[in-house]
Symmetry: D2
Amino acid sequence: LDCKVLMGPSGYKDNPYPVFLSSASEKIDLAIVLGGDGTILAAARQLAPESIPILAVNVGGHLGFLTEPFELFKDTQQVWDRLRSDRYAMLQRMMLEARVCEGDRCSPQSSSDRFYCLNEMCIKPASIDRMPTAILELEVDGEVVDQYQGDGLLVATPTGSTCYTASANGPIIHPGMDAIAVTPICPLSLSSRPIVIPPGSVVDIWPLGDYELNTKLWTDSSLATSIWPGQWISVKMAHCMARFIVLRENYSFYQTLREKLQWAGTRIHFDNNHRVN
Amino acid sequence: LDCKVLMGPSGYKDNPYPVFLSSASEKIDLAIVLGGDGTILAAARQLAPESIPILAVNVGGHLGFLTEPFELFKDTQQVWDRLRSDRYAMLQRMMLEARVCEGDRCSPQSSSDRFYCLNEMCIKPASIDRMPTAILELEVDGEVVDQYQGDGLLVATPTGSTCYTASANGPIIHPGMDAIAVTPICPLSLSSRPIVIPPGSVVDIWPLGDYELNTKLWTDSSLATSIWPGQWISVKMAHCMARFIVLRENYSFYQTLREKLQWAGTRIHFDNNHRVN
Amino acid sequence: LDCKVLMGPSGYKDNPYPVFLSSASEKIDLAIVLGGDGTILAAARQLAPESIPILAVNVGGHLGFLTEPFELFKDTQQVWDRLRSDRYAMLQRMMLEARVCEGDRCSPQSSSDRFYCLNEMCIKPASIDRMPTAILELEVDGEVVDQYQGDGLLVATPTGSTCYTASANGPIIHPGMDAIAVTPICPLSLSSRPIVIPPGSVVDIWPLGDYELNTKLWTDSSLATSIWPGQWISVKMAHCMARFIVLRENYSFYQTLREKLQWAGTRIHFDNNHRVN
Amino acid sequence: LDCKVLMGPSGYKDNPYPVFLSSASEKIDLAIVLGGDGTILAAARQLAPESIPILAVNVGGHLGFLTEPFELFKDTQQVWDRLRSDRYAMLQRMMLEARVCEGDRCSPQSSSDRFYCLNEMCIKPASIDRMPTAILELEVDGEVVDQYQGDGLLVATPTGSTCYTASANGPIIHPGMDAIAVTPICPLSLSSRPIVIPPGSVVDIWPLGDYELNTKLWTDSSLATSIWPGQWISVKMAHCMARFIVLRENYSFYQTLREKLQWAGTRIHFDNNHRVN
C-alpha cells in the first residue's frame, strides 16, 4: 500500500489535528481514529471542515455511539482490502457551527473564528466556587423566542440528541434527519420545553445578567470560548458534514437506542403471533 | 362575485364534506370553515386529499392554533378583496395517512380505506367499564423498534406536536418541518422516550394481547376504526398536504407557542441592554 | 391444623369477598391470595376494611410488586410452621378512601358508599367512540389548587406511586411513608406538575364541562362508579391499612425498584474502591 | 422597646452570623433578615442550629418563596406591636445536615463539621474549563440504591422541592411534610427517576471516578466543601428546624405554587357551576 501515514496522540487533552493538517503536503484521504466517543467528536470537529472521512475504532470507549467495534479490526488486511475496494458505507452527519458576535444585531461583527460541533453547542456558565444561574435570551431567525433561566442551553444535532440533550429530557431525533434541537438544561420555568426546529434556522443566544463573566460556549462538552458582555453566540447548521466510514453490516439507529441507551419499552415481552412473516 | 356557495353544519358530530364533494360539479376553490380546532381538523382530513384550500375562522374555539382570528372577518369586503387579488399567504402542512393491514408483512393486504390526520394518529384502546393497557409493537421501516405497554401510542406531525403529543411529554416540532414524532402515552417502562423520525419513515404498529378487542385507531382524537386481531396499522406521510389561507400579518410559530401554550421561559424578565439594535 | 377454609375464584372479573365475609361465622384470620398484582389489589380493597391480613402469592403475575415469590410455597409445611409460630414480617401500607359527594360543599351529602384503593384513585372519562378531555377542578383542604385539562387525574398512595403514577411521570415514593401523590395524566398545560401532599389532606375533585357524562372513578384501575353533574369525588387516607404477610428475608424497596422497574442508573458500572467495608 | 440590636451586611458574599453569635451576650430572640431568597437561606443555615427565629423581609428578591412582602413593614410600629403581643404564626421547616465521612463504612470517621441546608444538598463537580460528568453511588440506609452518571445529585427538603429540584424535574412536595427528595441532575440513564424517601433515611453519596477532584458539596447552591477520593457525603434530616415568623394572613402553599411558579393548570378556565357554596 503506497501511502503516507501521520500518527499522533488523541484524547481530550490532545489536539494533533492542526499539525497534521499543516504538515500534510497533499489532501488527507482518511483519518483512522482510535478512542472513545470524546476522541471521535474532537476528530470530527477538526477534520469535517477539511472534508476528511473518519474511520472510528472503539478503543476503551464506553458507549461507542459513533465507533466501529474493535473486533472488526483484528483482521487488518481485510479492513484495508475493503477500504481500497470501496466496500464500505459512508455515514454523513450534519454538524453545527457557532460564532461569537457583537455590535449591531443587523450587521453583527464576528469576534471569533468558527467553532464546530457534531453533538451540541452548549451555553453554560462555569465557576469553581459558585453555581451560577444562566439567563439566556433565545432568538430564532431574528425573533425572540424566550428567556431561559437555569443551568444553560443546548443546541444539538440529531447525532447529539442521544447525549446531553437526552439527559436534559430533550427529544431523541433520528440521525438521518437534518434538524436542530434547542433544549434548556434544568430551566426554572415549569413550562419551558425543548423544541425541534428546521436545519436552516439561525439560533442566537444572548447571556444576560452575567456580572461575573462566567458564561462559556462548549462544543461537544469541550470548552470553546468565554462570552463577554455585549457578545452573543450565533449557531447554525455547518456548511460541512462529518463523514464516517461504516464497516458493520446492518447498522441501525434503533438497535443503537436499545443497546446503548438501555431503551427497554416493556418489562414483559409479548409474542407477535399474528405476524405471518 | 360570481361563485357557487355550498353551506353545511360543522362540529365533531357532523361530516358535511362527502355531500359537498359529490354535489360539486366543478372543483371547489375554497372552503371557509368556521369553528374551533376540532372543526378545522375535520375539514383538513376531508378536504386536503381533494387539494381544497381552507380559510379557517376561529368561532367559539378555545385555542385556535390553526385559525385566523374572528376579528379579521368583520370587514367581509376586505377579506373578499384580498382573496380575489391573491393578497394572502398559503400555509402548507404535512399530514399523515394510515391503513389497516393484515396478512403477510412483506405483501400486506390493505383491509381499509386510507385514513388521514393533520395532528396525530393515535392507537389506543377504548372501553366504558375497563382501563385496558395497550401492548403495542412498534416497527419503523421494517425493523422492530420496541414494544410499548401503557395507554397508547401517538404518531404525530409537527402540527400535532403541540397538542396531545405535548401533553404526553413529546417533542414540540416547528410546523415548517417535515418529520414524524412517535410518542408513547404513559408508558409503563421508565426508559421509553419519544422519537423524532424522518418524514419518509413507515411506521407499523401491532396491537398485541388485546383479548377484548378494545384497540382502536383515532385520527386527530376522532374515532377512525377498530383494529382486529392479526391486523396492524401502517402510518406514513400523506401524499397530500393541508393548505391554509393566512390573512394575518406576522404569523409566527414562536409567538403561537408563547400565547397559546402559555410558554413562559422565565418568571423574571431581564433586559437585554447589550442589544444595539 | 384446626381451621376452617373458604375457597373461591380470583381475577378482575370475580369478587368472592362479599360471600366470604358474610358466610364466615368468626373473624377471618388470614387470606391467602394467589394471583398477579391485580388480584392482590382487589383482595386488599375488600379485606383491609375488615382488618384481614393477606398472604399474597405470585401466580401468573408479571411484575409481582406486592407478592411473595411462588417458590417460597413449594415447602407448604414450612410456610404453615412459620405462620403458626409468628415467624414473618407484617407490612402495613396506607390506603385511600373516596366518596361521591353532592350538594353544599360545606356540608356535603355523601351519595355513595366508600370506595377503597391500595394503589390509586383515578378520575378519568371512558367512552367507546370518543376520546373525551377531562376538565377537573382540584381542591385540597378546601382550597382550589388548579383546574386540569387532559386525560384525567391520579390520587395515589406511595404503594401506587410505582404504577400508573410513575407512567404519568409522577414521583416514586417510598412505601414506608404516608403521603398522597396527585398526578395529572397528560395535562394540556405545560406547567402542570405532580405534587406530593401530607397524608391528612382532603382531596376534592370536580369534573366540569362533561356534557356526555363520561367521567368515572376508578380504584386501582377497576371501575368504581360514574360521576354525575353536580357530584364530586372526595379522597382522603383510609382509616384502615392493607396488611401483607412477608416471608421473604431481606425485603427491600430499592431492590424492587431495580428489578421490577428495570431502574438502571448507569450504563457503565464503576467500582467503589474507596469503600473499606 | 428595651432591646439590643446587632446589624450587619447580608448577601451571598457576606456571612455576618458567626460574629453576631459570638458577640451576643444573651440568647438572640429574633433575626430580621432583609434580602432575597439567597440571603434568607444563608440566614437559616446559620441561625437554625441556634434556634433563632427569622423574620424574613423581601427586599430586592425576585421570587420570595420564604419572605414576607415588603409592604407589611411600612407600618413598622404595627409590626413591633404584633411581634411583642405574639400575634403571628411560626412556620417550622425541616432542614438537612451533611457531613463528609471517610474510612470504614460501618464506623465512619467524620472529617468535617456539619453543614446545614434548608433547600437542598447538591453533590456536583465544578471546573472552569471542563464539563465533568459526575459518577455518584447512592446508598440509602446502608443499601446501595444505584449509581448515577450526569451533572450531579440533589438531596432536597420539601421546602427545596420547588427550587433546583423542580428544575431537574423532581417532585414538588408540600412543605408541611417531612420527607427527603433525591433527584438526579440530567442523568445519562433514561430510566433514572427522582425518589421521595422517609425523613429518617440516611443518604450516603460516594463520588467515583473523579480523577481531577472536581466534586463538591453545595448547600442551597452555596459552596460548602470539596470531596476528596475515599470520602463520601452522609446526609440526614437535621436535628434543628428553620423557624420563620409569618405575618401574612392566609398563607397558602398552593397559592405560592400558582403565583411564584406560574403554575397554570388550564389555558381556559371553566366555571364550576355545580358548586353550591
